[in-house]
Symmetry: C2
Subunit: 456 residues, 2 copies
């Protein structure tokens, strides 16, 4: 059956392609997961276009995989059962900014940097900042977070309302624009983090924040990663409202220096941001300095100049590409456990121990204020022995985190890579997830093979 011809006739030739290069581009994400080509890529320009695609796909039982910037890290966008890759980057309009309500409405293909550029003139910003310049739709679907989560929350905390096209083409709006609601089941938080397995997000209302009156950035250097982690826990426990609290290991500091042409000391380092008003920020900084010193900090450098701060944070944001840059041709595997704060020191020292035990080379970065850290590894997907060791290491970390009451993924999502841990993490709650998946996508066309299977 020539369904691609039918789909092209339905949407118009400008929105559908099976060009080899475009298929290649939609066959992978930024991770080590094996690429798989979709049969076709569509570029909807409106919610109605998405409705047409899904009605068509549902009727013909063709798998549908939503695609944004392709920056996911667990194979979310890999069309493992082929079918239609729905590229949402042509839906890139910022539809509305409401400064007085601290709200913006965007199409799913808008990226976080694009949005923040437009928000600046209103004195506003959207805080969630994963490493990549991801699309807002992708960030919502993944349940992403970033370096500012410790202060401003993750996507789930900052998505106010969604328009979603369901598997059968029905369009729903979730939630409202009110800052809180007890009206009905919370569908917004169900679709955030559902990774395209329940529907395609076609519009997003986001919560915004006023740009802080004053910002200070600090780099605090320590003798050991353990000291770094203990200092972070001490800062959070003391109630210091850090806006960012990032651990970077020497291995990653080295990659950052090479990649960003910086010359930071290659020692265990905490990158800290303070946001506040004139009155509060001095108090916070002074108290932080005291705690850092007590915790054995070698030196701490404060940057209140905008340029120096920007250099520092953009260097931190390039940690993952910087690390991969040192390993050309390799695939990126990264762990993503998140644990209660008091369990973080043990989790990170366990990770260091296991790296030695499994003979894995990796660099640690951590959103330590959230209890979340990553071990970045460069793996050769063709080297099955190396891949196996890296996966065994990952699994050891996940089990350790689950025993500590944590989660296998703090912010990267389940996708393909964390699916094998879902039963261990959720127990019988996984059956409830399966029931919900089945209730909303009876034919299993939405991003099949990811997050949860209905055919257990």
């Amino acid at each position: 059956m020539n369904w691609i011809g039918d789909l092209t006739a339905l949407l118009g030739t400008s929105k559908v392609t099976d060009n080899e290069t475009v298929l290649q581009h939609h066959s992978h994400d930024e991770s080590y997961h094996q690429a798989v080509l979709p049969d076709v890529v569509v570029f909807p320009e409106s919610t109605d276009d998405i409705v047409q695609v899904l009605q068509f796909a549902n009727y013909h039982r063709i798998p549908v995989v939503p695609f944004g910037a392709g920056s996911s890290l667990e194979g979310h966008t890999v069309p493992v059962q082929h079918g239609i890759s729905v590229d949402l980057t042509n839906m890139h309009q910022i539809l509305e900014i409401r400064p007085n309500d601290f709200l913006a409405c965007v199409e799913p293909g808008v990226t976080r940097k694009q949005l923040n550029e437009q928000l600046r003139r209103f004195g506003l910003f959207f805080p969630v900042d994963p490493g990549a310049d991801a699309t807002i739709g992708g960030m919502a679907a993944t349940g992403a977070s970033g370096t500012t989560t410790v202060r401003y929350g993750a996507m789930r905390d900052n998505v106010r309302s969604l328009t979603v096209v369901l598997a059968d083409g029905r369009v729903i709006e979730t939630g409202s624009l009110a800052s809180k609601s007890s009206s009905g089941y919370n569908l917004t938080h169900l679709f955030v983090g559902s990774e395209g397995t329940l529907g395609v997000i076609s519009k997003i209302w986001l919560r915004l924040y006023g740009l802080p009156q004053k910002e200070v950035a600090a780099r605090a250097q320590f003798h050991s990663v353990a000291e770094c982690v203990n200092a972070s826990v001490a800062l959070i426990s003391a109630g210091i409202p850090a806006a960012r609290l990032e651990l970077v290991s020497p291995r990653i500091m080295n990659a950052i220096n090479q990649y960003s042409h910086t010359s930071y000391d290659e020692v265990p380092t905490l990158f800290i941001a303070f946001h506040g008003n004139e009155g509060s920020i001095d108090t916070d900084v002074a108290l932080a300095q005291e705690i850092l010193t007590d915790e054995g900090c070698i030196t701490v450098d404060f940057e209140s100049e905008t340029d120096a701060r920007n250099t520092l944070w953009s260097a931190r944001h390039t940690a993952a590409p910087a690390f991969m840059h040192q390993h050309p041709g390799k695939g990126h595997m990264t762990t993503d456990v998140c644990v209660p704060l008091s369990k973080l020191p043990a989790a990170i020292s366990f990770a260091e121990q296991m790296m030695a035990e499994y003979n894995v080379e990796g660099g640690i970065v951590g959103h330590v204020g959230d209890g979340n850290f990553h071990v970045s590894m460069a793996v050769n997907p063709q080297d099955s022995e190396q891949l196996k060791r890296a996966e065994a290491f990952n699994e050891a970390l996940v089990k350790h985190a689950l025993e500590a009451g944590g989660t296998c993924t703090g912010e990267h999502g389940v996708g393909l890579g964390k699916k094998k841990y879902q039963s261990l993490e959720h127990g019988d709650a996984l059956d409830v997830m399966r029931s919900i998946k089945f209730a909303l996508d009876k034919l299993g066309i939405m991003n099949p093979g990811k997050l949860v299977d209905t055919d257990k």
Copy 2:
């Protein structure tokens, strides 16, 4: 069939009763909704007891209604189809407090005041404070919030993980103890606010906060409610991190004075709380004072003494009982719309206008920092003409709020009273809620008649 006898044999006589007084107590909540007697009341003492009740009820298709403090305001706990009222107040243990993780684990019958008494010695508190001393289980099931939501969030923001007994007796744990997670569908936020229609909550992990280093309370008096509301919007827009921002109308100030033996001026008043450290709070207070003056405030009194602050906030918390105390024998009906902040001034002035038009007597209180306000009305449920007018007034407010992008209920929940607005508010998303309800409670035994119907 003598199922009550069988249930008694199953659980033991100490946990089951059909004593008339006890049935009466479980036939209503604190609202105007018509009382209905359950057939029997059970008092589980453990998750296992709840499992037994639900397996029994599911097998015999008997309705089950969870019951906590009975302080709901939309008839949530009224067993409209009779059956089993599951009173959870004998499950009142605080199971664990983890100061270093800012977490506590409680049984559903623990009340918010009971919890805060135990937390104080750790320098911690749980912020969500609805008017009543509700149970934590009830607050989670309702998706409650309170006066501190503007700063600390609602229940949904502060429940980390739940143990839930499903309709068929399966027990699941939702979420994890990590501060963020992208692992699987977010079931925690689905059960928070599900009003006992998807399962019975048997254990709750809550997020805690450090007691603020310094607190200041303020009472700002205005010539009109409109000025009060505009001043609140100005404070929020200026980024003042008020911990509470409460509007009280003259009618309610009068009720508070009579009930709490206070002598506050009976004029439109903003009650404001500031939480912070020495450095920040003075800056916040000074800036707030400037804005309040610009907005036409008559006087503003600051209280930094603990006793004066406590008197002020406990007076504010008694607003609803104080108002009802002036109307003996009447039932309490309260509106609960919540709108985006910029729409709040128009919504409140619309409410005042409609009170005149519908000849409704009521008092306004508002969590104005959240865009949420209530009109408290004392109605005689036997006076159908009066009830009809009050309901028509309520409906006019809801429609106005929905047109402004808001919600029919900011914090009281749907229950019986807001069910008629669910279709208007959620459109086709209501069908998704129905699918989820059906997927998790096929026989419809969980709190039937509330929130959403499956038989449609």
